[in-house]
C-alpha cells in the first residue's frame, strides 16, 4: 500500500515547477509557495512528516509521475480532460485565471486569444505544454505564431526585447513576474476573455488512487477548518474559488 510505504519512508517526493507564486525558492534554497505548502500540510496530516520537492519543467512532470520518479505533482498543473485521463487528480487546490502580459496601454488591444488569432502579425509567447499554448491554438492562433518559451523569465525578456507581442500565463504568475521585473513599460491584462478559470490539484499516478483518496480526505478537512485559506491567500490565491468547484466539473471543462 502506497500510503503505508510513504509513512514508513517518512517523506513523499513531489514535483514542483519553477514558477512563483505557485512555488518559490528562497535564497537559502528552501522551497515554499502555495502548492508545496498545501502539500506539505496535507501529507503531514497523513502521517508523512516531510516532502522532498524537486523542481521540474512542465513537460517533465507527467512523465516523472508515470515513471514513478515522484509521488505527486503540486505545481499549478491545471486540470484538463487530457490530463485527467493521464493522471489521478485530487480535489482542486489552487485556482487561477489566464492573463496576458502586454506593453503598457495594451497598444494592440488584446483581450482574448481570439484577438491574437485575428492579428496576422502578432506573436504570442507561452510555456511549452502549458494551458495557454493549448487555448491559443484552439482559438485559431497558428502554430508558428505561438512561440514556445522555455521559462517565465525568458518570456518576460522576449516581450521586453520586442520579440513577442504578448506573453500569457496565469494571473498570479504574471503579477509576480511583473513585480519582480519592476518594468513600468508593461502591464498585465486579466482575466483573458472567453478563457475558463482553471484549478490545479495534486496529481498522482493512476495506480495510486488510494493515496489520492486519502489525500482528498485530509484536504477537505483543511478546507473546512479555514487553515487552507490561511496557507494560500497570502500568496494571492482565492480559497473560495477552489472550495466552490470540484474535480469532476473541472475535468469535464474543455
Amino acid at each position: 500500500d502506497k500510503l503505508e510505504d510513504l509513512r514508513e519512508q517518512g517523506f513523499a517526493r513531489i514535483a514542483i515547477a519553477n514558477e512563483p507564486p505557485f512555488t518559490s525558492v528562497a535564497s537559502d534554497g528552501k522551497v515554499s509557495g502555495a502548492g508545496p505548502d498545501v502539500a506539505r500540510e496535507v501529507f503531514k496530516r497523513l502521517g508523512i512528516d516531510d516532502v522532498e520537492a524537486s523542481i521540474s519543467e512542465y513537460g517533465a512532470m507527467i512523465p516523472s509521475l508515470q515513471a514513478g520518479r515522484v509521488d505527486a505533482v503540486t505545481a499549478g498543473l491545471f486540470m484538463k480532460p487530457e490530463r485527467c485521463a493521464a493522471v489521478a487528480y485530487s480535489q482542486p487546490i489552487l485556482c487561477d485565471a489566464e492573463a496576458l502580459l502586454v506593453p503598457a496601454g495594451n497598444p494592440k488591444g488584446f483581450e482574448s486569444y481570439a484577438d491574437i488569432a485575428a492579428d496576422d502579425s502578432a506573436t504570442m509567447g507561452a510555456p511549452g505544454g502549458g494551458t495557454e499554448e493549448k487555448l491559443a491554438l484552439d482559438a485559431g492562433v497558428p502554430r508558428d505564431r505561438v512561440i514556445v518559451v522555455p521559462d517565465a523569465q525568458s518570456g518576460l525578456k522576449m516581450l521586453q526585447d520586442g520579440r513577442i507581442d504578448v506573453y500569457s500565463l496565469p494571473v498570479l504568475s504574471l503579477n509576480d513576474l511583473l513585480a519582480k521585473s519592476g518594468d513600468s513599460n508593461l502591464e498585465v491584462f486579466a482575466p483573458v476573455k472567453d478563457a475558463p478559470v482553471y484549478c490545479d490539484g495534486a496529481a498522482f499516478n493512476q495506480r495510486d488512487t488510494d493515496l489520492r483518496d486519502a489525500f482528498d480526505v485530509e484536504l477537505a478537512k483543511l478546507k473546512e477548518s479555514g487553515e487552507f485559506a490561511a496557507i494560500i491567500e497570502p500568496y494571492g490565491f482565492s480559497a473560495e474559488a477552489a472550495i466552490s468547484t470540484d474535480r469532476d466539473t473541472l475535468c469535464a471543462q474543455e
Partner: protein, 219 residues
Amino acid sequence: MGDWAGYLTLILQGAWVTVKLTVMGCALALVVALIAGLGRVSHVAVLRWISTCYIEFFRGTSIFVQLFWIYFVLPMTGLWSPTPMQAGVMALGLNVGAYGAEVVRGAILAVPKDQYEACTAVNLTRYQKMRHIILPQALPLMLPTFGNNAIELLKATAVVSLISLSDMTFQAQIVRSQTGNTIFPFVTILILYFIMSLLISTGMRYLERRATRGLDGVR
C-alpha cells in the same frame, strides 16, 4: 532583488552537483571506453560486434534522447529506476564513453605494428602483450583526447537540467526566475564552467607529462 550571497550559494550547490556529475561521469566513461575500445580490437568477433553496436548507437543518437530514455523510458520497462543523478551519470558516461572507446582503439592501433611483432617474437601471450607493452604505450596517446573528452562531458552536464537535476545551469535558471536577473547567474556559471575546464586541462597536461616521462624522443 535580494540576497546575492544566498543565491550565489545556490549556484555553488549546483556547481557541486556539476562537479559530481563530471567526476562520476568521467569515471564511468573511462571504464566503458577501455572495455569497449579493447572490445573493438578483440580477436573475438562477437565482442567486436557488441562494442561496435554500443559505440555506433551512443555516438549516433543525441545525448538528450539517451538521457530521456534512461530517465523516463527505462523505469517504465520495470527494470530499473535510476535517480536523476544515476541517470545523468549513466547518460554522460555511456555517451562520452562511446567516443572514448574510439580513442582507445585509435591509440591501440597507433602503437606501431613493430611492437606487436616484437611481442610475438618474444612469445608473450595476448594478455601479456596488452598489459605490458601495448596499453602502457597507448596511454600517453589517449590522454590528450581524453582531456578533451572530459571537457566535453563537463559541458554536457548542462543538459541534465532538462531532467530536473539541479546542476549549475539549472540553479542559474532558478536564480534567474526568482530574482528576475539574467546577467548575474549566467555570467557566474560561465566563469565557473571555464574554471572547471581549465582545471581539467591542467590536470591532464600534468598526467601527460608523467605518462610520457622517459619516453621523450620516441615519437
